[in-house]
């Protein structure tokens, strides 16, 4: 295969090169040389984005598998594979991110032998470890089908129910516990974000983002590979997303109200600007967009709404982990370029691996009725009219 230097490919290659250099700086000269973290800001963008957002962006799998396997919501079946792929890649990349962030990553296995059950971090660590294993087995059928290994495929499918239940249990625990990490800092985290309800909000935003991410990745892969889910499925996901966003927004409002913060959040301040940004992107714009039937029914409208919604919740997590501490600390934190490059490399790897998986594994249904957007790099495999959905019937 000849390498065609398109814009995105060149961008990807330069990101990876700078990422490798940054990784060298990180491991050869330490965290101090590679990052802007300090005694005042011990957690930077690697925790704020790579871990907090990474786990959130990978939340789709437990929602969709639960809906399909526990609630028998059949129309979501074609969504199962792409969300499991996203989640599996997401969690693997979260662990990669942790290997950069931990001061002594070579001792990460200490988690297994020195356990402190009082620590939220311990609980998150264990759940992430187990859930990544669960996701591995949920992802495995893609590979087994491709290699035509019938017997192991039957074994894995035999334990699907167990995997799904375990996946939901572990996800409920650690998605919310990521918020619980911050409960011990009532004096440090700004009152806009510190609330006893943090675990609930982290869970609620994970549900919203899980759905938005599914719409996003399907839309994106249709643009790049000409492969995607059918529009009616995306439309229904959009409907659910709208409801979930409303629930999230109302709960946030109630929380501000009960903690007497309503008067403060409308007053301009450094934190208020970031809060406004977050609320606008996470709630105001996506809810407004999705409220129009015309937008809710169009592929482009759904794509736009889901991307803005994702940006909003990413802002939310960065606010909790960075903005919310700046007043207490007394100065600002902004990631160093090497720090930023590592994060970008992780994100870019995620996109690339997703693309490879979509290209070589049976992730999306093969035949699609009327592509929504112009497929850019048409990589269509045999466009035989073979009954596609039958292939996924056993998921």
């Amino acid at each position: 295969m000849k390498f065609k230097p398109t814009f995105w490919r060149l961008t990807f290659v330069s990101i990876i090169c700078l990422g490798i250099y940054s990784a060298y700086v990180r491991y050869a000269h330490g965290l101090g040389a590679a990052t802007n973290m300090s005694d005042q800001f011990p957690w930077g963008v690697w925790i704020g984005f790579d871990v907090l957002c990474g786990v959130m962006l990978a939340a789709g799998a437990f929602i969709v598998t639960g809906a399909v396997h526990l609630l028998n919501i059949e129309w979501m079946r074609s969504v199962v594979r792409p969300t499991i792929l996203t989640a599996f890649l997401g969690y693997c990349l979260v662990i990669v991110g942790l290997l950069f962030d931990l001061g002594r990553p070579w001792f990460i296995w200490h988690q297994l032998i020195y356990m402190n059950p009082h620590s939220v971090m311990f609980e998150v660590g264990f759940c992430v470890m187990f859930y990544t294993t669960v996701l591995f087995f949920e992802f495995l059928p893609n590979v087994l089908e491709r290699l035509n290994l019938k017997r192991p495929l039957r074994w894995v499918k035999g334990v699907t129910a167990g995997l799904v239940v375990a996946g939901i249990l572990l996800s409920t625990l650690h998605q919310s516990s990521l918020g619980a990490l911050y409960l011990i800092m009532p004096t440090k985290l700004h009152p806009f974000w510190y609330t006893p309800a943090l675990p609930f909000f982290f869970f609620g935003s994970a549900v919203a983002v899980g759905l938005a991410m599914t719409i996003f990745e399907s839309s994106l892969s249709s643009r790049v590979f000409g492969r995607q889910l059918e529009l009616p499925v995306l439309v229904q996901l959009g409907d659910v997303l709208l409801v979930v966003l409303w629930v999230n927004a109302l709960l946030r409002f109630q929380d501000f109200f009960h903690r007497g913060q309503l008067a403060n959040i409308v007053k301009p301040s450094y934190e208020a600007y970031f809060l406004w940004l977050e609320l606008t992107l996470a709630f105001v714009i996506p809810i407004s967009l999705l409220s129009f039937k015309k937008i809710r029914r169009s592929a482009n409208g759904l794509y736009l709404a889901s991307v803005i919604c994702l940006l909003g919740f990413v802002t939310n997590r960065l606010n909790v982990s960075v903005t919310g501490f700046e007043t207490w600390v007394g100065h600002h934190y902004f990631p160093k370029w090497t720090e930023f490059m590592i994060t970008l490399t992780i994100v870019a790897s995620g996109f690339a691996l997703f693309g490879l998986a979509v290209k070589y594994l049976p992730i999306f249904p093969e035949v699609q009725p009327a592509p929504v957007a112009k497929p850019v790099g048409a990589v269509s495999r045999s466009v035989s009219a073979a009954p596609v959905l039958a292939e996924h019937a056993g998921d």
């Binding site: 330490g30 965290l31 040389a33 300090s38 001792f107 200490h110 440090k188």
Partner: protein, 257 residues
């Protein structure tokens, strides 16, 4: 009984002997340059701050219910029976949750090391265990830093305030803050002038309780939620089985006719 340190800022003369002794005890570098640094760091566990003619020491508070010990995923921190909150470096994975969680921002990090450790005052645990004073208390020429039983030091602090009410802010910092600490402070000016968090903001509730409220629910939550999920699965799939069986029945009946 647990030991404690009582630091009385009104007696302190700002000689920084405690800084010197601390550096010696912990084998840290100390010179004029470091002496001039007015912040704690990986090489300066305690610092004497100066504001006009007032002094104030900063060091790890050695909380009765330390947040650092509660948040550490590998249990690298623990509070000893004698009072010091100590750190087991061989367990540490470097997640720095202790630094984020500490309300007094005491743990510092070796940011430029390739095998970094968390650094903070550990209240000379070996000396304390051997019945000696901490290095800083031993060297203090005026007795501003005093080592002793926590209960007795509290009584003494109360007496000092009673006898000289005009000399002191009527408050022993560390008596009840975050559930009490093993470092007690007396001062003639408000503690927050030296970046100590305001007492009313900290509250008397031990910090680990904020997470314990959630964590304590988990042992009940796991079996309950599994049961619900398993139950839902059973019900939805039972419905499918029944429907399939009924279809089969109908088909049979149809073919029999």
């Amino acid at each position: 009984m647990s030991k404690a340190l009582l630091y009385d800022a009104t007696i302190c003369i700002g000689c920084k002997q405690c800084e010197v002794a601390c550096a010696q005890q912990n084998k840290l570098p100390y010179n004029d340059e470091i002496a001039a640094e007015a912040v704690q760091s990986e090489h300066k566990y305690t610092v004497v701050l100066t504001k006009q003619d007032k002094f104030m020491r900063r060091l790890c508070m050695h909380c009765e219910h330390p947040a650092c010990a509660s948040v550490c995923p590998v249990g690298a921190f623990h509070k000893t029976a004698e009072g010091p909150v100590v750190y087991d470096v061989w367990k540490c994975i470097g997640c720095r949750y202790c630094m984020v969680a500490c309300a007094f921002a005491q743990p510092k990090y070796e940011w430029h090391s390739l095998n970094p450790r968390v650094r903070k005052c550990i209240m000379c645990p070996d000396r304390v265990k051997a019945g000696q004073q901490t290095a800083c208390a031993e060297i203090c020429p005026t007795g501003a830093t005093k080592f002793g039983e926590r209960d007795e030091l509290i009584k003494e602090a109360q007496n000092r305030i009673l006898q000289n009410p005009s000399n002191y802010v009527p408050h022993i910092y560390g008596l009840n803050e975050v559930g009490g600490t093993s470092v007690l402070l007396l001062s003639s000016v408000a503690f927050d002038q030296f970046a100590y968090p305001k007492s009313e903001k900290l509250g008397d509730k031990p910090m680990p309780e904020y997470t314990a409220q959630v964590m304590s629910k988990i042992p009940d939550f796991i079996p309950l939620w599994s049961l619900v999920l398993g139950g839902v699965y059973w019900i939805t799939h039972r419905r499918e089985d029944v429907a399939a069986a009924e279809m089969e029945e109908k088909r049979k009946q149809g073919s029999a006719q």
